[in-house]
Symmetry: C2
Subunit: 348 residues, 2 copies
DNA sequence: TCCCGAAGTTCGATTTAAATG
DNA sequence: GCATTTAAATCGAACTTCGGG
């Protein structure tokens, strides 16, 4: 390995001067161009790469940001990660991504590993998390800038970025209503998932505003589960159950796309065609939604934007820490967007 | 931050002794239990966590492994990553995951960043890579244990893990043939993709063995593209084109699942139902395949196993390096598995 | 005082060599 | 020589301080 001393020897200057030149430190302005050229030449010739361990040990900086995802296989998160990645890439930070797989033990272990590596900030993608308040405690006391994506927090030391669930759900029913649907079935999210309540609030709020009647027999809840793809199966089953009750409905609003896929399967098995005999709308707009046939109408979460926003929040936080400023946590709520595809249409 | 000297002071011993005890170094066997207890107690009391930068600087080890993915949004890779992650987690290595986004510049920059962080090994998930031979050169000269997933290499310094494409394709046609299909359309992969040739070879090999006739008019190629999801659209278009030629076919074998989704869309638009009027089979078995309606019959790549295998290869490589053994690159080819679902059935 | 460069200290842990009884 | 402990050197870069022109 070639060290700064090797460059010093090769160029004929001292290690100090080499350091000053290569880092373009304040003192570098006094150093004549000729010296700089010689040093830079020597560095290039030897293929010198500074040892980050030494550098970080001294500077107490890692240029690294920890990213924890609760479930990487959830299609929701890959685009969020893209957003994070692109922002950090520009800022020359390296993300260290860990997949917690919804296991508490992994969360704690990875958090330790990240702190051990002196990440300068933390971004947590809390998709499908069944909240553990005490986990947040671990985070708070670490006192490095932290942003949480997908989980609303009142917290004033941890920032958060979420989608406006209420608005999204409102928009979804509104879309079905505008198409002429009046008998709508609902599969709500699991009670313990923080997204569930505001989405349902959006539905109720629309229903109240426009006088849409909500039939309690056509409202069911997803059970809890640690696996985000399990809602496919439970969506399937719940839809099957609702069909068995013979209560007619012309449209179904699913908690998320995965659930919607399950519903479509059940409708199809029952001989009902989507959208001809029943419209279906999802939430999230995961990649698969535009790939399936028929493509799914859904509420798109601005995932890349959410990732980018979280990244810029923590980058700002890092600057604040460096400048010893105090920066309060911020809480952002981004608007979703209706993606109209072929799984919804007017009832016949 | 609490350092080893703080622990030394607290326990009443020197930093040396603390280090020996906490690392359970060879010399620790001379140290009386009482001393160990005191030191461990002090460390725990102070919440001592060794500084990894200092440790790595001295030991020249990072306990870190670089993982480069060519496109994270490709659903193929998340399960591969799970496999890698789980293996490394057990071995107490931290993966640093980078998403190259199929950009050469990013590849190089991330490779530098990883090498700067002294990753002890490298795993490259080369899904949907349009090979750059010279990129491999960069890797070779870095001479750290490297494994490539999804790209066959003759190389003897870089290991590789791939799926048996020929066998997979053979199995796929065999499945269609067994169902009674004789007029089969094929959408082959892009010429420059290394998976394309062996898959086609598998088809030809089956055709020859069983006397299946391959109609050149029903064989088309995907164009090149940097975006793995683009094959949805091109699959759609190519299928549409084939339908226009009016050459009858009762089954279609797509290069991969994404292409198959495009085909299904085109068939559906043309009023042909899958599988009633045309069977469709994919390759990969991405998550969406079992979620769509009808669920897609496909050739499943053992993604998690491939990831785990690559991880164990490089871990073995690290041990070899530590023991100054020489370890030749290994090349593994894993068997895929036929996943029969509802998109294929006997022709009427 | 301004300019240029270097010696020496520091970061925190590991390890070698050596000093105790 | 043995068990027990430690001072000092080391890893590589960055920064503080200082000296000479």
């Amino acid at each position: 390995m070639v060290t700064i001393r090797d460059v010093a020897k090769e160029s004929g200057f001292s290690a100090t001067t080499v350091s000053i030149v290569l880092n373009n430190a304040p003192l570098a302005r006094y150093i004549p161009i000729a010296t700089k050229k010689r040093i830079e030449g020597a560095a290039k010739k030897l293929g010198y790469r500074p040892n980050l361990f030494a550098r970080s040990l001294r500077s107490r900086r890692s240029h690294t940001i920890g990213v924890m995802v609760f479930d990487m296989t959830d299609p929701f998160c890959t685009l969020v990660l893209r957003g994070i990645e692109n922002s950090l890439y520009q800022a020359s930070y390296l993300p260290i991504l860990t997949d917690v797989q919804n296991e508490r033990a992994r969360f704690e272990r990875y958090l330790e590993m990240l702190l051990d590596r002196r990440v300068e900030a933390l971004i947590v993608v809390a998709n499908w998390l069944f909240v553990n308040i005490d986990v947040l405690g671990d985070l708070e006391k670490s006192n490095i800038p932290t942003a949480m994506i997908g989980l609303e927090l009142k917290n004033d030391s941890i920032s958060s970025v979420i989608v406006d669930n209420e608005l999204g759900a409102y928009t979804a029913v509104e879309h079905l209503y505008a198409l002429g649907h009046r008998k709508i079935a609902f599969i709500r999210g699991p009670r313990t998932l923080t997204d569930s309540a505001p989405r349902w609030k959006g539905v109720r709020s629309f229903a109240k505003a426009r006088g849409l009647e909500l039939d309690p027999h056509l409202i069911v809840d997803l059970p809890e589960s640690r696996d985000p793809t399990s809602s496919f199966e439970t969506g399937y089953k719940l839809t099957e159950d609702m069909l068995k009750t013979k209560r007619p409905f012309t449209a179904l609003m699913a908690f998320d796309d995965m659930t919607a896929f399950g519903s479509i399967r059940a409708l199809s098995k029952a001989g009902l065609r989507v959208p001809e005999q029943c419209s279906v709308i999802g939430f999230d707009d995961v990649a698969a939604s535009s790939l399936c046939t028929p493509p799914l109408t859904s509420i798109r979460q601005p995932m890349a934007a959410m990732g980018a926003m979280a990244a810029s929040i923590v980058l700002e936080g890092i600057n604040a820490v460096l400048e010893k400023r105090d920066l309060p946590a911020v809480h952002r709520k981004l608007a979703p967007e209706l993606a109209v595809r072929d799984s919804t249409r007017s009832p016949v």
